[in-house]
């Protein structure tokens, strides 16, 4: 580990400890690390978006780059229309979004938003319907009793039946056009149970995710920081 990496590791480790100190109680070290993170993130994202979005998609096509001539110089010097000039429209639509910051002209931003919403809806309406609706409906149209060469496959039949009952009862719970009484009420209650089980599974996965992040940080502190420093100092 070179000196610069070691310095970076120490800064990261100290900031990690500052953040973790919040678990004891709110304190100035935590606040310092929090504000530093917010500020650096904002700066990083502005720079990143400029270099990765604006430069390759707007500035280089229009004005040119080290690799080639831009569309505007081409038009102005050689009089040739280039398809890249269409990026001006996209650029202007993007610019309209910034009018949100001027209350009197905020309405201008609606053009950019309307275009992106319209484009998204037009391009992906069918795809969304196919992937998230039709394929899921198709996945629910399954035989409740699975018959194989050896007779009834009990395990698959149970799983299929459970899936069908779960989907139907959960859907009934979200059906509000009729009061949930009688059979409908019973089915809705069953739907709640299925929903609760799914929320429980989601909660379990969430706990797992959060613990994984903690393990990641602890692993960094033990391996990269403590062991890394000891190795760099030649102590181990």
């Amino acid at each position: 580990m070179d000196g610069l990496t070691l310095l970076g590791t120490w800064i990261a480790a100290i900031l990690t400890l500052c953040i973790l100190s919040f678990l004891y109680k709110d304190n100035p070290f935590y606040k310092f690390a929090e504000y530093l993170f917010v500020g650096i993130s904002a700066g990083f994202w502005v720079a990143y978006q400029y270099h990765n979005l604006l430069v390759p998609n707007l500035i280089e096509p229009l004005f040119g780059s080290a690799q080639g001539k831009g569309a505007l110089p081409l038009l102005l010097t050689e009089g040739q229309f280039d398809l890249r000039l269409l990026t001006i429209i996209a650029g202007l639509l993007g610019l309209t979004m910034l009018f949100r910051f001027i209350p009197k002209l905020a309405w201008v931003s609606r053009y950019g938003i309307a275009f992106s919403v319209g484009l998204g809806a037009g391009l992906f309406f069918v795809v969304f319907l196919q992937a998230n609706c039709l394929a899921q409906i198709k996945g629910t149209i399954i035989p409740p009793v699975v018959i194989t060469d050896g007779g009834v496959d009990v395990g698959s039949s149970l799983a299929n039946s459970l899936l069908i009952i779960g989907v139907v009862s959960a859907l009934i719970y979200f059906y509000f056009s009729k009061e949930h009484t009688g059979v409908l009420g019973g089915a809705a209650k069953l739907g709640i149970w299925f929903l609760m089980v799914s929320f429980g599974a989601a909660f379990g996965y969430t706990v797992m995710a959060r613990i994984s992040l903690l393990i990641g940080r602890m692993s960094f502190l033990i391996d990269d920081w403590i062991k890394g420093t000891l190795i760099a100092l030649g102590l181990i």
Binding site: L123, F124, F128, A131, T206, M208, M218
Partner: protein
């Protein structure tokens, strides 16, 4: 009863300490707990195994450093499997920082394998646009990524001369921390172009992808650190995820024990409302 009341009002910092200990101790003293492989992880492994040597696999690094402790290890394990099988790998990212994480992953791979950039793998870098990027890649990858991450013309790379669009990709592995990620690849690459899509994601987002798995829209799924450890087990190369699973299991055990204790104390105190009349935080409210 005093113990039950103490349990109901336990200082949360004691829980934090116990969780910290349950995470740190197994990291220092590994227990080597077994990792059980699930069918959804095995399905990805089998698919990579079944591909003929030299097939092209697209790996999308659609995550950021915040999700790296969970998703990065599965990316490494998956890449190792691909390079063991001599598959060609095309890397790209729908998340800005994903491309940099891919560079770090490939640095490890080039240390372990004899790989040549442009012939064995390419890193196309990041492109904003999510679904639209994938849809455009269905027509031409070079149009979407005219240059790779280092600025080289994509068309000049030997590997990319054989790959013009998504149709030339044999398998897509979406390493995802949200959207754009697995949902976008399923919506567009699978639904529109009928490409085989496998997924690796953070544990918190895994439950929402199981419907895709059940319908076959996803051929397999690695969920969180456990999914990464499963894949490391499958490729017989235990690494960071497997090492960390001991901590994960012990921490879960501590949480489960406290959930059980909390529920027991809750039900006991609910039956005796006078016992909980301390107003201490965490105590259940008296019954009406």
């Amino acid at each position: 009863m005093k113990f039950v009341q103490w349990l109901a009002n336990i200082d949360r910092r004691i829980l934090f300490l116990l969780i910290a200990a349950s995470v740190i101790v197994p990291l220092l003293v590994p227990l080597g707990m077994p990792v059980k492989v699930t069918p959804q992880a095995e399905a990805i492994y089998e698919e990579v195994e079944a591909l003929p040597s030299g097939s092209t696999v697209l790996v999308a690094f659609d995550y950021d450093p915040a999700a790296a402790p969970e998703v990065h290890p599965m990316g490494l394990a998956f890449l190792r499997h691909c390079f063991n099988k001599k598959h060609k790998v095309v890397i790209m990212a729908l998340w800005p920082q994903g491309a940099q994480l891919a560079v770090s992953a490939m640095a490890e791979m080039t240390d372990e394998y004899d790989l040549e950039y442009g012939r064995d793998y390419v890193n196309l870098g990041y492109k904003a646009g999510g679904d639209i990027v994938i849809k455009s890649m269905g027509a031409s990858i070079a149009d979407v990524f005219p240059r790779d991450m280092a600025g080289r013309p994509t068309a000049s790379l030997p590997l990319m001369k054989k790959i013009s669009s998504l149709n030339d990709i044999d398998l897509i592995m979406a390493l995802s921390a949200g959207d754009p990620g697995i949902p976008a690849w399923v919506r567009v690459a699978n639904a529109l172009f009928q490409k085989k899509v496998a997924g690796g994601c953070t544990a918190v987002s895994a439950p929402q992808f199981f419907p895709y798995l059940q319908t076959g829209q996803l051929l397999g799924l690695l969920g969180g650190l456990k999914g990464a450890a499963e894949y490391e087990t499958l490729v017989e190369r235990p690494d960071a995820a497997t090492r960390r699973m001991d901590s994960q299991s012990i921490a879960h055990l501590v949480i489960i024990i406290f959930i059980i204790f909390a529920n027991i104390s809750y039900f006991i105190l609910r039956r005796r409302p006078e016992a909980s009349s301390g107003g201490a935080p965490g105590a259940p409210p008296p019954s009406p």
